[in-house]
């Protein structure tokens, strides 16, 4: 795993993640006062990013938890990270 992979897509400071009993969650950006709702998969991906996991490690997590192929999991990870970037939630 390259060093670059460990440092990219890191959650910015002052983003507060909440998790609900149904598995879904929200992110509140204290910098901009904006928030977004997350489905279960997106929340898991966010938690992995908080744990400084790489794309490949997150894909493994998704495949272990859900009955999905690595390709499908990879698409989900890319889509979620793109959304996080679009909302300024990751570096």
């Amino acid at each position: 795993m390259s060093k670059e992979n460990k440092t990219e897509n890191q959650p910015r400071e002052n983003i507060v993640a909440s998790e609900f009993t149904n598995g879904e969650g929200t992110l509140v950006d204290l910098n901009t006062k904006r928030y977004i709702q997350l489905n279960e998969t997106a929340l898991l991906i966010w938690r992995c990013l908080e744990g400084r996991q790489t794309r490949d490690e997150i894909i493994n997590q998704l495949c272990a938890r859900y009955d999905v192929t690595p390709e499908h999991a990879g698409q989900s990870v890319d889509k979620a990270i793109a959304s996080f970037k679009e909302n300024g939630l990751v570096s």
Binding site: E13, N14, V16, S18, F20, T21, T26, V28, L30, Q37
Partner: protein, 354 residues
Amino acid sequence: MSVARQHSDEARLRFYARIADCNIKIVADASDVKEEVLRFVSVFSPVESSNSRLETDCTIYIKRYKASSGSWTMPYGASGFEVESGHCYSDGNMCLLKFGDSTVFVERPDAKIVTVIYFPGKDLIAELPFLIRYAIQLALHRRGRFHLHSAAVVNPDDGRGALLIGDSGAGKSTLTVQLARAGWNFLSDDVVVLSTSATGVQTFWCRRFFSLTEKTIQACDVNCDVNSVAQPLGMLASPQLPKRMFMPEDVFGHPPLASCLPNKLFFVSLSHQAGSVVRSLTAGEALLMLIKRCAWATYEVPDVARAFIHTLESLVNQCRCYELSSGYDVLENPDTAVRLIGGSETENANRANV
């Protein structure tokens, strides 16, 4: 909330306000405001016997402005936002509120001292309630207690609480009064304090009086002698205030409960329709609605804001959450409020969302 007056003399007033299991020592160092300070805090809490051995969780110093003490300036790079009758500035650690020439400030997210510097002038008596109210809020925030603009009632069948959340005029007091008339217990008709405990998020009362419009008093057939509370409320009572205040024990025969463990949240509004409607909300919807109503949950310094949001998160996770559009049927019969808040209507709303 309760107040134990510890010591008073010509120069200094010191007493404890107990709010949400938190002992806040209030020290006013000047004679020109000490009676107003005691009166203002006392309307939110019964005065208890003196107890000098209370452990202090936080201290609020109320000091008269002196030129020799220097002036407090805005932290460099601080962001600001409006609060009621004032402005708040924060640099990520310090929080400073300005009301006219007077100031409330706290230096760190874990600080145990909140300082009020009041500027003597013609606006002081009008500003003082805001200064003290915000000082108490900042003190409580730093002890993990957070205000919520909500009524709180307790179902006598299971002892669990329901929070009725809404803006002024949304119908919180009307529902609370109707449920109290039907035999429910209550904490407050307008504001509560949330605190996380081992059993979940506890809700605490923090205001002694109820406040109703004349229309609601007549519609709900509340028999209250407003004059009996006009004097204790003192400076809070105002000719411009469109509501009348009374002590709930004078009307319902028993005082508010000190705390409860809620298991239902209702976001209430008036529909101006004949019938009321209940709709189930997801936890995510409920959290975002709560955050919208709690500006401090995102505008406090980050460490405190994070704790506030996590308290709201725990609250929605322990509760079923609903949106309630109150119709005229709530005014007609207390049993309607019981049906809406207590059971059958919310069960129907749950089934409709399955």
